[in-house]
Amino acid sequence: MNATAPHGNTTAAAGARLGEVIAALETLLPAESVIVDTEPRRVYECDGLSAYRQLPGCVVLPNTIAQVQAVLRLCHEHRVPVVARGAGTGLSGGALPIAEGVLLSLAKFSDILEIDPLARTARVQPGVRNISISEAVAEFGLFYAPDPSSQIACTIGGNVAENSGGVHCLKYGLTVHNVLGIKFITSDGELIELGGQTLDSPGLDLLALFNGSEGMLGVIVEITVKLLPQPPVTEVLLAAFDDVGAAGNAVAAIIAAGIIPAGLEMMDQGITRAAEDFVHAGYPRDAAAILLCELDGIAEETRAQLQAVEQILRDAGASDIRVAADAAARARFWAGRKAAFPASGRIAPDYYCMDGTIPRKCIAEVLERISALAREHELEVVNVFHAGDGNLHPLVLYDVSQPGELERAEQLGGRILEACVAAGGTVTGEHGVGVEKINQMCVQFSSAELTQFHAVKAAFDEHGLLNPGKAVPTLNRCAEFGRMHVHHGQISHPELERF
């Protein structure tokens, strides 16, 4: 599929401005930090949403804050757009480059600057990989909680930009709940510090606003994160249900009992079978839905919760309940869930992953609606669900080689997101809007609301130079549809688990 970059319309003037910027960059930065040759630039033409591709005008890899400031000042002066990029693992095209723009990679900002075990904070550069933080602080019995599925590769700067979640966010929160401060560079090159070691700051809470702002408000160059004590005990249960509604009721009953699981995942029959056939996790193939429930914490508390959850699942009509006996069994229970996306790639040539959030109580109704929509579009959909926080990932199965299937898959995806909005939910729970869901933003928000978003953007970036065209659609033109299409299992970063 051909991507249409939001700002892909070449004009001679934009090209000329970019040329001036490139000439100046070569004097500002060391030669190896400016990439203008076509082949090495290709590395940056897409992020994890590989259906959208655009060769950037040039790529810069600064390694000091002063260099980032210089690049932004220069681009500001010449009115050249800048797209910041971390590891490029995002699933919504948030780091899609611009033909007449600069792609600013923060890959060289990869140092953990300071760990304060007593204060339970770490000060890191944006290019530090998510999992590196937990690895670095493990010796102090601490960890960094948000764990997006791409955590071995994704970087903390991108996590802040996307307000990344993970399977444990019902209990431990999203990125916004675990970031204490940032330093960022404004579109005109000013360095601004928000928060830091304190729990709040005077003035408007710009730190909250920055989380999930998709690189549209500033370029983050340093982050201070909160660290938590590692839970000493983890338990995982697997429960099978003959009915999706009963599984949904079990989730509600666990919450109603005052238990906040570390993770609570639901898989429907289609994806349970696909995952079981793929990794042989021991999932019951005949179940209408399965639930995975992870509890963690202090031994006394976790043991009590485990007993309570077993009873609740039984009362809710679970046909089979298993408790993982050890770490190996826990890993096996999780293996199927973590293999859900690649497993879908085995049952259909192509799939594409949606990311809506719905009120939990609507799960049975929304799944039914999705089935009806799928029948209408003559396609199959399987569903994985972060049931604890209502984040639904329907996977639309299709075959791009069949004429019309891609278009039907796209239409179906849009209808599914619209069904999430209609149920009181949102078009994106954790993947971000990027270029992917920009059309559905028009469904979720009114013109006045979108206008307010644009006004916020303009307060930070008057000339619209930072990651323009992403996240918030213009009123008179919503970008062309397109989502995470995966053909024959070929996905960017195939080494990453995606769940």
Binding site: L118, A119, L199, P202, I298
Partner: protein, 357 residues
């Protein structure tokens, strides 16, 4: 009824913006003392009351801004749930709108999160009188900028809050507070060490030579934590934490100027002329410190800054000295952001002149 009230508010806001007439948004007025002084025509939202939607199993509640905090807390408690940021009310009449606008969190804040962490969505009016919704009623939502959380602690500068959706959490099954005798320096060290261990810590404060540690969770976990930490069990613990949170504790019963210092949790006690150990109350595990002192405002601000944090005059400090001076670039950004919501500067606009929040 709410719709009619909202339509009236919209009309007032539109007229105010057209005439550039400043408005002072208020609920019950219970927290007027802790925001910067503002003047203008009062815009009363206290009539906008009621719980719009509450689904205990979703852990989400949506309330109108004029709803009394106490009413919501009672409704949550009836379902075994709570606002985990433990907001101070400062008066029985306190409303949710004012609580969000002031961004107030109580002793549980360092362990459970701040008010803004529990805001999931808002419905509000901007300076054009437009009825807008941001965020939503779900936990995970990254569609659009997080304007909902931005309203927390904005003191009404960005608009009129109409409805707020919160994430709520289960009430703990058991709660016990223990008290230990420790110096402020030793208490700060202890609070931070304990917070780095997997204990069900839900509050840690130091007052007048005593370190108070509250544990909340399952009965077994709380008992284990108390045994681990030692100290004497406090019998009237609920009253104690209420007094700390609501500033009814003896410490606050003073005519002297009162300062709030937001510091790194591990920061050493700042030296302030004329203030000794008895003039400090340490809360939030070391991150929030209350000071009674007549010292010049510039000295308090400088000491807080030197300790890696900031200070605000809470009571008895002249308006123009209450807030720290922010870097110029940050200040300009804040002004532009305010203007993006409120171009005619009608909402609580003197708040801006005060520089701070």
């Amino acid at each position: 009824m709410a719709d009619g009230l909202i339509a009236e508010l919209q009309e007032r806001v539109r007229a105010a913006t057209a005439a550039a007439t400043p408005l002072v948004i208020h609920g019950s007025g219970s927290k007027a003392f802790c925001r910067p002084t503002v003047t203008g025509e009062p815009l009363d939202v206290s009539g906008l009351t009621g719980i719009v939607d509450y689904e205990p199993t979703e852990l989400v509640v949506t309330v109108r801004a004029g709803t009394p905090l106490a009413e919501l807390q009672a409704a949550l408690a009836a379902e075994g749930q709570m606002l985990a940021f433990e907001p101070p009310a400062f008066a029985a009449t306190a409303t949710l709108g004012g609580t969000v606008a002031c961004g107030l969190s109580g002793p549980r804040r360092p362990y459970a999160g701040a008010l803004r962490d529990f805001v999931l969505g808002v419905r509000c009016l901007n300076g054009h009188g437009e009825d807008l919704r941001f965020g939503g009623q779900v936990m995970k939502n990254v569609a659009g900028y997080d304007i909902a959380r931005l309203q927390a602690g904005a003191y009404g500068r960005l608009g009129v809050l109409l409805e707020i959706s919160f994430k709520v959490l289960p009430l703990p099954e058991a709660e016990t507070t223990v008290a230990l005798e420790l110096s402020p320096a030793a208490a700060i060290e202890r609070m931070n060490r304990l917070a780095g261990r997997p204990l069900p810590l839900s509050a840690a404060a130091h007052i007048d030579g005593g370190l108070y540690l509250r544990f909340s969770g399952s009965a077994a976990a709380v008992a284990a934590a108390c045994a681990d930490c030692g100290g004497a069990v406090l019998t009237d613990a609920a009253a104690f934490w209420t007094a700390v949170r609501e500033q009814q504790h003896d410490f606050f019963q003073t005519g002297r100027p009162l300062w709030r210092l937001s510091l790194p949790a591990t920061a050493a006690m700042p030296a302030i002329d004329g203030a000794d150990a008895a003039d400090w109350l340490i809360d939030w595990g070391g991150a929030q410190r209350w000071l009674r002192a007549e010292a010049p405002a510039t000295a308090v601000h400088a000491a807080a800054q030197a300790a890696g944090g900031w200070a605000r005059g809470w009571r008895g400090v002249a308006d123009d000295r209450r807030w720290p001076v922010q870097p110029a670039a940050l200040q300009q950004l804040q002004h532009r952001l305010k203007a993006a919501f409120d171009p005619a500067a009608v909402f609580n606009h003197e708040a801006d002149a005060a520089g701070g929040t």
